[in-house]
């Protein structure tokens, strides 16, 4: 649908919702990176 250029962004919070709202998806948990393994030092010969 062609609706032209954007003009502004607004927030609409109805006092009475027309219907139930779907539950918000939970924020993804940050993935903890495994601790970096210490670099192996080649054994001196």
């Amino acid at each position: 649908m062609q609706i032209g250029k954007p003009l502004r962004t607004i927030v609409v919070e109805p006092l009475e919702l027309p219907v139930e709202q779907p539950p918000r998806e939970p924020e993804p948990e940050p993935i903890q990176s495994p601790e970096s393994e210490s670099e192996q030092v080649p054994a001196k010969q």
Binding site: M1, Q2, I3, G4, K5, P6, L7, R8, T9, I10, V11, V12, E13, P14, L15, L17, P18, V19, E20, Q21, P22
Partner: protein, 181 residues
Amino acid sequence: MSIPDYISPIVGYRGWTWDTKGLKSLCGQRWHPGLALAARCRASAVVGTIAGRVEGHDSHEAPQAECTCGVYAAKSLEPLRKNGYDRCGIYGEVCLWGTVVEHERGWRAQLAYPKNLFLSLDALPFTLAEIWPRLQALTLYGSDIFVLDNDQTISLWGKRFGFDPAGLDYLIERSTGHEQQ
């Protein structure tokens, strides 16, 4: 805490397709009865190269002013008619709320739900056996339903009173007339 700009839903116009399971956006997105449609940005899912430029971006909450995501609706029926969306099967008013991006001739919204539905005659099957399951699916949305016959608007179903006898008579006469041809 943010202060809302409006405390009533914005009302726009849009078109749908419909089948025995209910309403779908023209892009195929299913609208579920009794549950607002929440927009999701899919731009990140279509990352690709167009004319040498890399398109796409990280996903974000829809809608954003810089993106094209959101549930679309027009400010008037004119853009729908101009683009032929009023002949898609069903059109009507839609309530929009949440974050809403206003455009020159329409809106892109975070949340949406049909307010009322107008069925064009072209989209109505002729036999009652075909119409009935589709209509029952539509009534589950709880939105008032009308049939458009040229300049005439015929009430078919209302949230308060259910099926309108005059609307049902109209459908039966239309179906009977078709069988006799």
